[in-house]
Amino acid sequence: MSQNETREGAQSYEIKVGLAEMMKGGVIMDVTNPEEAKIAEESGATAVMALERVPSDIRRDGGVARMCSIAVIEGIRETVSIPVMAKVRIGHFAEAQVLDAVGIDFIDESEVLTPADDTHHVEKHGFRAPFVCGCRNLGEALRRIGEGAAMIRTKGEAGSGNIVEAVRHLRQVNGDIRAIQALRDEELYTTAKDLGAPVNLVQYVHANGKLPVPNFAAGGIATPADAALCMQLGAEAVFVGSGIFKSEDPEARARAVVHATTHWNEPDEILAASRGLGEAMEGIEMETLSESEKLSNRGW
């Protein structure tokens, strides 16, 4: 066989999941301009997420939240050499085509933006760029993987500065996985039906005790201890959105969250990371949010 016949490009699912593997143990930070991206890279972020507004500002301002402007993405890419991610609205495959064409490293089909389709998500296999999607439970995670997502993250509650939803979603996904491991083979079909998930992926989880793609945490991480909590609950890396650039000293906090994520199971190191950070972002108590205000309810 010639070289050309054996060569596979970025559309290969293995290559997409491979980039997600490379981000394990790291921190992906939301940034809105090149200056913030520089601070994120300097602090040891594994990737930056380019946005017009961080989730807490989207929440405050209201209105329709769309894909980031290309000028912002290009400005950030000229400034940093780490991977640049960007979000598209749920189901907005044309926004995804634009990001794919500009050569983005990862696309987040995100509930943080205003959904473009209230029934369907993007069919993700056809793109060169890999996708990450949020989930609250195993069924949602496997539906997104079935559509082609190469990385899964919890939804948590973006822009809230409150870790409770991310914890709930991590426990739910991992609890769902343990429950499936306890089943007999013939029970997987009805379970797949109940979860609304492809049966082959339920069978994978049964056999391997994990998702077929990396499983990261997002939505409400504001402190080094929040990051360590998610890692100890089984997350393989963390996204920090508003938590860094809405805090008093973003540079110190960014470095501290990176340190705590590397040393997630060493309390002395998490302690060291927790000193001298100034104020964290302000948080929102979940009970004060109505169901329609919860971003995590978006996605189908």
Binding site: M1, Q3, T6, R7, E8, G9, A10, S12, E14, I15, G18, L19, E21, M22, M23, K24, G25, G26, E41, E42, S43, G44, A45, T46, A47, E78, T79, V80, S81, I82, P83, V84, D100, G103, I104, D105, F106, R128, A129, P130, R255, V258, H259, T262, H263
Partner: protein
Amino acid sequence: MKTVGILGIQGDVAAHARAIARVGAASRRVLRGEEIAECDALILPGGESTTISKGITRLELWEPLRAFARSGRPLLGTCAGAILLAREARASDAHERVETLGVLSAVAVRNAYGTQVDSFAGILDPGAAEAVAEFRGVFIRAPQLTELGDSVEVLARVDEQPVLVRESNVWAATFHPELGDDPRVHAAFLSS
């Protein structure tokens, strides 16, 4: 049994641990100088080279890692790990310089193929070292190695670019032999 350390600052540590298990050796994630010194072989995994480089500074591991390289024990870097081994890491001028160990006589050009949409997988060119002949390499935002020193042996190429090289005890792959289930690169490294 040999214990292979995997630098655990960030990256695909778990994938390397699986590859090491496949060739019947034990591995451990290492984060401290004394842990590095105890290992029989050491791997710098794939991940983000800037993130890992800054982590090495934060954890004060430059000297322990250089001492390990000098000790003659096998040292392998894959992708980001290969960049960290090089004498210099080069990127576009606007981007910050990544500090490296300088234990491999080569210059690493970061993201030499482009962004993730330019990542690819393919079989090594004919003429690769017998132990890795027709190995399928997965290249993810991969670097290239240039300006190789005379003592650097090229074990494999893709599109005529060196992708697997060896200088005495130091091995560097610009691809990810830890992904997939072919253990031959790890086996050759550990038997060196």
